[in-house]
């Protein structure tokens, strides 16, 4: 049980670090969506189902959709 949580936390930190290194902004947004999704799973392990549902639907779905629409209307690559 504690090993599953450790593995998830390491995956979350790896996704956040790789959001710093990507030059393609679309890949960085997908990395931040992965951070939100793993945070929603960790909320479930901490016995908070309301917060897990809110983070999964708002943080992982709607924020990513708004980011992708904004990237489409500006530039895609960071110079």
């Amino acid at each position: 049980m504690i090993l599953i949580v450790t593995f998830l936390v390491i995956a979350m930190l790896a996704a956040a670090i790789s959001a710093y290194f990507f030059k393609d902004l679309l890949s960085a947004v997908i990395a931040s969506c992965m951070v939100s999704l793993i945070a929603a799973v960790l909320f479930f392990f901490l016995h908070a189902p309301d917060v897990a549902m809110a983070e999964a639907s708002i943080g992982a779905a709607l924020v990513t959709a708004v980011f992708v629409i904004a990237i489409r209307r500006t530039e895609r690559y960071e110079k």
Binding site: Y20, F43, D50, G59
Partner: protein, 119 residues
């Protein structure tokens, strides 16, 4: 192993806060800075919920099998974090509409070039 039991959630939450702060302080593209802000908010919400955790507790919901209030987790931080997540979405939407306005006006999203172009 007992170190991991006690501190793994705090390490995860503060790792996210530091990575988000680092992205916001160093990067120059506007949308990268907003991505850093989103990672920072996820870290802070995770920290708030992990403070309210009680060992061997259950979710604070009554049902047909859980009829009396025994070991339940603290419900007050969960209510605060629910508000904070929705307000995070509102801030992201407003910041990205300003990004579209900046791109239309200056032609670039690099903040160093925008500062030099000001006059």
């Amino acid at each position: 192993m007992s170190f991991l039991h006690n501190y793994i959630y705090y390490i995860g939450a503060f790792g996210l806060v530091f990575i988000g702060l680092f992205i916001m302080a160093v990067k120059r593209n506007y949308i990268k800075i907003i991505i850093g802000l989103s990672i920072l908010e996820a870290g802070v919400n995770l920290f708030l919920i992990s403070v309210g955790y009680i060992a061997n507790g259950t979710a604070p919901i009554f049902s047909r099998t859980v009829l009396n209030a025994e070991n339940m987790v603290d419900p007050v931080p969960q209510a605060l974090v629910l508000t904070a997540i929705v307000i995070g979405l509102a801030v992201m939407g407003l910041a990205l509409s300003l990004a579209i306005g900046l791109y239309r006006h200056f032609g670039t999203l690099n903040l160093r070039e925008i500062k030099e172009q000001r006059w």
